[in-house]
């Protein structure tokens, strides 16, 4: 049954590598529900399946079993071209190594998704200005990525992910290549955007600073969810209600 306000609903999702030889469960029967406006960290050791799970939720990869619902749509049933269209309209991505397009300026990088969506120039300009103000980089709009620091590039990547107001943002180790000051600054921005624009964030991380800032922490080990702070909170909430 669909849970009210659920943005991401993964049902019994598995992803197996090396099926022909020694099968490895990158993601093993995972059930996951993320509600609108959540700020969730997906944590776990290297190889625990964080990135694979994000890829499955983002429609970048197909699960071997199970279904991924985004709102009420099962994206595992979509064709490759439908998935591209779906990602464009619904998901924002932030990658570990920024992945900005080097030949475009910071402004053009942020504008890129909106251009693909065919959004009018006046609307694009207004949104770009607003986002650059929010990430505190108004003066760097016309700078190419190579001239920006790692932290600045990742802020631009976050702005790009948010430009078209997606249903949720998937961030794969967004602070992995940043120094502590830049990481903290980026987290402030992400938290503020999460609060102000009610955009759902799901990010994988090793970084304790990020984990500390998350409102919900899901721990993966060997492709399975071994703990989820949301479940603990719910139990506490239920206990308080009974009292």
């Amino acid at each position: 049954m669909k849970i009210m306000n659920t943005v991401i609903d993964a049902h019994d999702v598995s992803k197996i590598y090396n099926k022909e030889t020694i099968p490895v469960f990158a993601v093993n029967n995972v059930h996951l529900h993320i509600k609108k406006g959540e700020f969730t960290a997906l944590v776990g050791p290297s190889g625990s399946g964080k990135t694979t799970l994000l890829n499955l939720i983002g429609g970048l990869d197909n699960p071997d079993s199970g279904n991924v619902f985004i709102e009420d749509l099962d994206i595992t049933k979509l064709s490759a071209n439908q998935l591209i269209e779906f990602r464009l309209k619904n998901i924002g991505f932030v990658f570990q190594s920024f992945n900005l397009i080097p030949v475009l300026t910071a402004k053009e990088n942020v504008e890129f998704i909106m251009l693909l969506q065919g959004i009018k120039k006046s609307v694009r300009d207004a949104r770009v200005k607003q986002l650059f103000r929010e990430i505190g980089m108004d003066d760097k709009m016309d700078t190419r990525p190579a001239q920006l620091s790692g932290g600045q590039q990742q802020r631009v990547a976050v702005a790009r992910a948010l430009a078209s107001k997606p249903k949720f943002v998937l961030a794969d180790e967004p602070t992995a290549n940043l120094d502590s000051k830049s990481a903290s600054n980026l987290l402030d921005i992400m938290a503020k955007l999460n609060k102000d624009e009610q955009i759902t964030f799901l990010f994988s991380t090793h970084d304790q600073r990020v984990i500390d800032r998350a409102r919900r922490v899901i721990t993966l080990v060997d492709g399975r969810i071994v703990s989820d702070t949301a479940a603990v909170s719910t139990k506490h909430e239920n206990a308080n209600v009974q009292k």
Partner: protein, 400 residues
């Protein structure tokens, strides 16, 4: 974005742009050389061989029988000369015969000409390499081609005998003395044609003041069809041929060489295509992660293909104006000063009917065709890299 992508690796892009420019220059140079050669060949045919148009008795050209004269030829010649588009019209008496010397003999076409008119019509005087033009005070003089003279060991003042049949079918022989030896840019024609005075030939043929052919030079090449039509309407009983019909091999050569030059252009661009494919493949492989990211963000496959196609087009077209400009400058220089191909041998060139100095001409009429070939090359060159890019799976591409 596509334009900016080209300049990510400046050196690589400049090398491929220069290759395209040089390839295009080479193609244009070949086209210009062929155009110059063909123009020179056509000019030779018109100005020193057959003129723009010729008028004959409808039955004459079948067997060159001397009795098939142009009836009322003088009247026709007068009427033709009055047409404003006509620069010059001259009569010729023609028969086939045998030229014999003490050392040998050869079959020839004997052209009876009015020397002063013939000098202007076929530049005969300018082609003399040994001896002198016809001397009005001397009788039975003959002009022979260089190749024939060499074959029969003829020199100026050498004596020879021409034998042919007259209008009654009787064998006629007459002795002639070589006045001059001429050499044109068409060796086979030199070997076959001899020139004598029309009055002397007419007496031997027994056609008094009649003749077999009117050769017409027009003021403008473009008027050939128009005047041919006018003459056909005016003189329906005669056969009116343009230079294309008289010298179909030249017409065919012009058309064939046109196709030939495009084939050469194709070969050059085909070779260049490999360079473009290599460059684009390198560009795609270097950007695997970036392209994967673009697909992950929602860039559809059509846009990815368009991006690669535009990059290839820009890369190709960037070299195009450079190649065309160098081609134009070089062609303009040689068009003015001429390109001396005597190193290839005058005999070889003249055996194909070409002079040794060629004036290449910029093939402006073929530039649109050349551009189409260039764009076609870019399109074909981008296919392989584009397919490679379209096959990228975002997850795998992002891992690299």
């Amino acid at each position: 974005m596509a334009w900016r992508n080209i300049w990510r690796n400046k050196m690589r892009s400049i090398i491929i742009i220069l290759s395209i420019a040089i390839g295009l220059f080479a193609g244009i140079a070949v086209l210009a050389l062929y155009k110059g050669m063909m123009k020179s060949r056509v000019r030779n045919v018109i100005d020193s061989e057959v003129g723009h148009l010729q008028i004959h008795n409808g039955r004459f050209k079948k067997d060159y029988e001397p009795q098939f004269i142009l009836a009322n030829g003088a009247g026709v010649l007068k009427a033709v000369s009055k047409i404003p588009e006509v620069k010059l019209a001259a009569s010729r008496s023609i028969t086939m015969g045998m030229l014999a010397t003490p050392t040998g003999s050869a079959g020839v076409q004997i052209n009876g000409v009015i020397p002063d008119l013939e000098y202007r019509l076929s530049q005969l005087q300018k082609k003399i390499i040994k001896g002198k033009p016809f001397d009005p005070t001397k009788k039975n003089e003959i002009m022979v081609g260089g190749k024939l003279a060499k074959k029969l060991k003829l020199k100026p003042r050498s004596k020879l005998v021409l034998t042919f049949t007259d209008t009654a079918g009787n064998m006629v022989s007459s002795a002639f003395r070589v006045a001059g030896i001429y050499q044109s840019d068409n060796a086979p024609l030199d070997e076959k044609n001899v020139y004598v005075n029309i009055n002397e030939l007419n007496v031997l043929l027994g056609i008094s003041n009649s003749f077999h052919e009117i050769v017409i030079l027009l003021k403008n090449d473009a008027d050939v069809k128009k005047i041919q039509l006018v003459l056909q309407q005016k003189f329906p009983v005669y056969q009116i041929d343009s230079w294309r019909e008289i010298s179909p091999e030249t017409d065919l050569l012009v058309k064939t060489v046109d196709q030939y030059s495009y084939i050469i252009m194709f070969i050059i661009m085909f070779a260049l295509a490999f360079g473009i494919v290599n460059t684009m493949l390198m560009a795609i492989l270097e950007r695997t992660r970036e392209i994967g990211m673009m697909v992950a963000l929602g860039t559809n496959r059509i846009k990815i293909f368009l991006l690669i196609f535009l990059e290839t087009i820009f890369l190709t077209l960037a070299g195009t104006p450079v190649g065309i400009f160098i081609g134009w400058v070089t062609t303009a220089y040689f068009n003015k000063h001429g390109l001396d191909l005597s190193g290839m041998g005058r005999e070889m060139m003249s055996s194909f009917g070409f002079g040794t100095i060629i004036y290449p001409e910029f093939p402006a009429d073929k530039i649109s065709g050349v551009l189409l070939i260039v764009i076609g090359t870019a399109l074909i060159s981008c296919l392989f890299p584009a397919i490679k890019a379209l096959k990228l799976q975002p997850v795998e591409a992002l891992r690299r």
